[in-house]
């Protein structure tokens, strides 16, 4: 049974368990289940985008515009519900769709106009946060405070709980499940892998790789839209600069999760585990008295070490194999 679980996911799982043990020993409050579960609130937007960015990375692409879509989606929610007076849930739907629209623009330009994903999503990053800033500017709301005064029910979305489980945890698992099923149980998911491994071969096999790639970016945009809404609900206000500092952690959870940055390999289970690992580390370090700013150091080192390890691993194995077969030939 254990053989079926990819080794890297196992490693991540073991690290999470170690984290719980070590941080708990440093500060027993860490062993409090409700604190651990509530910590999901802090990283659920990162995880949500991470799940769907994983799909994009599997096709061999990249999407760094998600961090700006968070702010845009947040502002759209605020603008439509607070200034335009739309029903809050209708505003939420519009905000998520706005994210999808941004993803569509990315996807069309990357898949059909064949521009590098990095360049387009960099432009998108400027453009989408620019639009968010413009919306805030035109609406006359203070940039610092943003839109406030959301209804109680909206705040409950991220802060409430069902059957003792914080909603953040539930949102985490719902989106994980969607991404998991899409990637690992559907034809579309398989096409994502095949496109990422070899787009030419996929084309020759009759797969519409451009549509597949475009869809991945749309999903990534939608997920960033959801993340923006969740963050707005959690923090109780809508601001254009939400998510600005998430680029590093989002990429870290995807890469640390074992998804190959060159595409074709990886999965959302790894991303989910990596985001929990990162989230627990953040709260653990905080509880251990380490200032928040220092967490970037740990993240950065973790990122380099994990990628170096994942990258060197197959080479290393190959070398070992070579030495062994060489000996056999000699003997």
């Amino acid at each position: 049974m254990l053989k079926k679980i990819p080794k890297w996911n196992l490693v991540l799982f073991v690290i999470i368990v170690l984290e719980i043990l070590v941080f708990g020993m440093m500060n027993p409050r860490f062993w409090n289940t409700s604190i651990l579960l509530n910590s999901f609130n802090d990283f659920v937007p990162i995880a949500i985008i991470g799940f769907f960015l994983t799909l994009v990375v599997i096709t061999g692409g990249i999407d760094i515009s998600g961090v700006s879509i968070i702010g845009l989606s947040s502002v759209v929610t605020g603008l439509l519900s607070q200034t335009a007076g739309l029903n809050i849930w209708a505003a939420v739907v519009c905000a998520v769709l706005t994210g999808g629209l941004c993803g569509l623009l990315n996807g069309v330009l990357i898949a059909y106009a064949r521009v590098q994903a990095m360049v387009i999503t960099l432009g998108g990053m400027l453009l989408y946060s620019g639009i968010a800033i413009v919306l805030v500017g035109l609406s006359g709301v203070s940039t610092y405070e943003g839109f406030t005064g959301f209804p109680e029910s909206f705040g409950q979305m991220a802060n409430g709980e069902i059957l003792g489980l914080p909603n953040a945890v539930i949102i985490f698992f719902i989106l994980f499940l969607i991404a998991y099923i899409l990637l690992h149980r559907t034809r579309f998911g398989r096409y994502l892998y095949l496109t990422g491994i070899n787009q030419n071969t996929a084309e020759y096999a009759g797969i519409n790789t451009k549509r597949v790639m475009m869809t991945a970016y749309v999903l990534s945009g939608l997920s960033a839209g959801v993340a923006g809404v969740v963050l707005t609900s959690y923090l109780g206000s809508a601001r254009s600069d939400y998510g600005a500092e998430y680029l590093m952690p989002i990429l870290t959870v995807v890469v640390l999760g074992g998804t190959l940055i060159t595409g074709g390999k990886g999965g959302v289970v790894g991303t989910a585990l990596a985001s929990i690992l990162l989230g627990f580390m953040q709260i653990g370090l905080q509880m251990a008295g380490v200032a928040t700013q220092y967490i970037g150091l740990a993240t950065g080192v973790l990122l380099i070490v994990s990628v170096a390890f994942l990258g060197i691993n197959p080479d290393f194995r190959l070398n070992v194999k070579r030495i062994i077969t060489h000996k056999q030939n000699g003997g």
Binding site: R187, F188, N200
Partner: protein, 502 residues
Amino acid sequence: MTGPKNLVRLEDIRKSFNRNTVLQGITLELNESEVISIIGGNGAGKSTLMKILTGIYQPDAGTIEINGERANHLDPNAAHERGIYLVPQEPLLFPNMTVEQNLTIGFRKNKHGVKEESLKLIKELGWNLDLNRMAATLSIAEQQQLEIIKGLLRKSKVLILDEPTSTLTFSETEALFRVIEQLKNSGVGIFYITHRLDEVFQISTHAVILRDGQVTLKGKIEEFTKDMLIQGLLPAGSETEYKNQFERRAAERTGEEPILKVENIVGDGFMNISFEVYKGEVVGLAGLVGAGRTEIAEAIYGINRIQSGKVYLDGQDITHFSINETVNSGLAYIPEDRFLHGIFSIGSVRHNITAQLIKRHGFFTKKKAEEQAAIQYIDRLKIKVNSQDDEIKSLSGGNQQKTVIARALSMNPKLIIMDEPTRGIDAAARGDIYSIISELKSHGFSILLISSDLEEIERISDRIYAVYQGTCSVCLSLDEINAANVMKAAFGTYKGSDGAYG
């Protein structure tokens, strides 16, 4: 010391890739002022031999001597320094630099001198190369010219030209030959790799024929005739074990509707192509590399556009279908370049087999059905794997190819186009693939076989169309198929069955 100075001496060079023997003991010598034509089919080992000489590959055994000195562990730099320069078939230029920058890069010495020299060379050659143009805008012939000038600028004593004329026009070729003549007179030794027999007699002093990694014919050009060269290219004897495996039948097809009917199609790389394939028939598309066979196949399959003409599959017009549509209508294609277009290298064997099949499974993938399909094809095609979860790149070339064939079969096609199905795979797997073809044929599948392997296409095909420089004017029926006729047709010299070899 008497006689001309020796430039290169290769002795008993052997090389194999993954148990696939490419060179089995080549001995060659090149002296000053010699032009040695190296002729051979695909997979004969020409390029490998030249890559060994230029230090790109290391030989498994054998010795290389350059200017009388032994050269162990040659690398590209050392080869350059010893005056060996390869003008590759696919130019290795910097597309975003100008012609001048491409010529001067890598030189330590005065740029201006290099420029003057190149200008002089271009003028001498009578070529029309603008030094200020971007390399990306050059035609392939011009890129080739640029590579040749790069070699000449380096004052190389040994120049290797790998099919330099395959993309040159008539007058450009003439100019090149004048250069070769000049170089020869100034003492340079040249290895000239070619498919074109006329050229061999026009410019070379010696000819060497390679077949299956061995030299089968070697000597001064005066000693040979064209027919002798063709004979040398032909396989020795006919002891091949799979000969009788194929029950071939002559076309008695009057009134029968063909499975594939190609009518006068025109596209990039080919012109006015027409042919038919009937049910249960293996039709060969013979020709040299670059003749346009792959372009024809890709256009039929829907990868490239067909400008005019019609293609019918089982009566259905598929001329302007997309790949997805041609696949659904019953066409399958085994691509020429397995690594680039055939396999999903880091994907599992199962996912490689079912890449097309899952389309029929609906929105969700069906793991059970996929596993069964994988088991079925691994069993039926004798694909050697430890588990169907193995990465396909860990398999041997032959097993990779079988996996690609399995994927094609999974869609239950009416016609399979196989483009070089046995390239780069070992003899045993080759035999397996022939049995697969034979079995498919007996089950009524039709196959369009594209192959540069003369022996293969000659023995398997029921009929053969020859493609020569993008046109197709020769069709050999079963009683006309023999090695000599196929070879002549591929080289564009077939003038009807004259019975001389029949």
